[in-house]
Amino acid sequence: MPDLKTIIPEPDNNLLSFVRTHTGQNISACYQCGKCSAGCPTAYAMDIGPRQVMRAIQLGLRDEILNSSAIWLCVSCQTCSVRCPREIDIAQVMESLRLLSQSEGRPPAQREILVFHRAFLQQVRVFGRLYEVGLGIMYNLRSMHFFNNIKRLPSLFAKKKLHLIPQRTKGAAEVRRIASRVKELEREFK
């Protein structure tokens, strides 16, 4: 939950400008109608809803947002973006905030979700494609939820939904190459 300390708005709200430069979205335009929160499938699980995230940007409440679970529980379903009367691409803003939060090395409010994403990419780097069994194992290990979904495994195997031998493709090398190039470029731009 956000702490209730007094807001002391700074004249230069760099969060507002960050969002503007990285997403081209003008958050000042938000008039706080709440349609985004109203339609957001995961808002109920968030500490502050999309509307309050927009408000926090207007007020420059950096920690409020970047430590929030909201940016992690956003599943990019785009519902808010499509319905916003002020035509703000809220989902895109959420994404940019997720990235900002990581670039500042903040511990995510929903650690598991980040772990999942990382594990996912790990699989892709190794196999060029997602190997779901690997993902499952990797996630359980990293998230410390060792038995997560374990009870499902038998049925999944029975239904041949999971393959014990991952496909390796030439793509794997390709992915690693791309991934490393991306890292270089990103360093270059920092």
Partner: protein, 298 residues
């Protein structure tokens, strides 16, 4: 409802696509891939799978690394571009990522940056189409063998297929009708309902199953309340969330749903006369066979 022409067997020009199955279609959603290929062949649509295609990065990439989330799909787009064929994509997530990439590559600077990332210069000169759009095309004759008479279908699109319109430009974001029209062509009876584009919880099943249960249950229970015999989907993630956890929903919300969730391609397959085995109907966690038997469709 377009009237049904007899199968001439011969391929019409422009019915050849590059094909990008997407990771899920290799495993949890194999039945989607298989049925899509079967149905396409039957309808005279040739799918040529891109060799050595790689993952689109899914939500993992765009949640953690913006450039990577563009580079991975861009690489696939490049492959498709080289083939000079439109790209057919069954998975809604892949489709969404590819489309987003295309959208952002419109920007020159982004395009140059991404080109450097994948070491080839990408262009936006490639069409990406969802399997649903290709197969539901009204110009395609569907040689019905077993019309799905009396089958009430709740067509579920989820998020990524239709949102955001300016990126995916496919059907209507709030009340799409493509799948409904297709089901009517198959002789089935689409039910109208209000949650066809509501989110099922997408990729958070691993870390936050509770969220998926809540959202998916809301969707399924409405479909059932509207009298649907099954839910038709066009996305492996939607399928997983709706199909796999019905037992957990029963445990949590006390309602026994037992509402089969099928890929629209599987329903097409049935109508075209393929056997449940061919269509891997046995793969689903929520077994659709009893319902189909009851309906006399198998």
């Amino acid at each position: 409802m377009a009237q049904v022409k007899p199968d001439t067997g011969k391929q019409e020009p422009g019915r050849i696509y590059s094909y990008y199955p997407g990771c899920s279609q290799l495993a949890t959603a194999e039945e989607y891939d298989v049925s899509a290929r079967l149905v396409s062949r039957k309808l005279g649509i040739e799918l040529r799978e891109l060799e050595n295609w790689i993952c689109c990065g899914a939500s993992a990439a765009h949640s953690t690394d913006h450039l990577l989330s563009l580079a991975l799909p861009a690489n696939t787009l490049k492959q498709a571009e080289e083939k000079g064929l439109p790209l057919a994509v069954p998975c809604a997530m892949c489709f969404s990522r590819l489309k987003f990439a295309l959208h952002e590559l419109e920007n020159k600077d982004t395009r140059e940056l991404v080109s450097r990332a994948i070491g080839k210069d990408v262009s936006t000169d490639v069409t990406v189409e969802p399997m649903l759009k290709i197969l539901a095309d009204d110009d395609i004759a569907i040689p019905l063998e077993k019309p799905l008479a009396g089958l009430k279908v709740a067509c579920y699109y989820g998020c990524l297929l239709v949102r955001p319109p300016e990126v995916v430009n496919f059907d209507d974001a709030e009340n799409p009708q493509t799948m409904e029209r297709l089901m009517q062509k198959l002789g089935a009876e689409p039910v109208e309902w209000g949650l066809k584009t509501s989110c099922c919880g997408a990729g958070v099943a691993f870390p936050r199953l509770d969220v998926v249960l809540k959202l998916s249950y809301r969707i399924l229970s409405l479909a059932k309340e509207r009298g649907a015999d099954c839910v038709a989907v066009a996305c492996p993630m939607c399928h997983a969330n709706l199909d796999m956890y019905q037992k957990d929903m029963k445990a949590k919300y006390g309602q026994k749903l037992d509402l089969p969730v099928l890929y629209f391609t599987q329903l097409m397959g049935l109508a075209l006369g393929f056997s449940p085995r061919e269509l891997l109907l046995n793969r689903h966690i929520t077994n659709p066979l009893p319902m189909l038997r009851r309906k006399g469709l198998i």
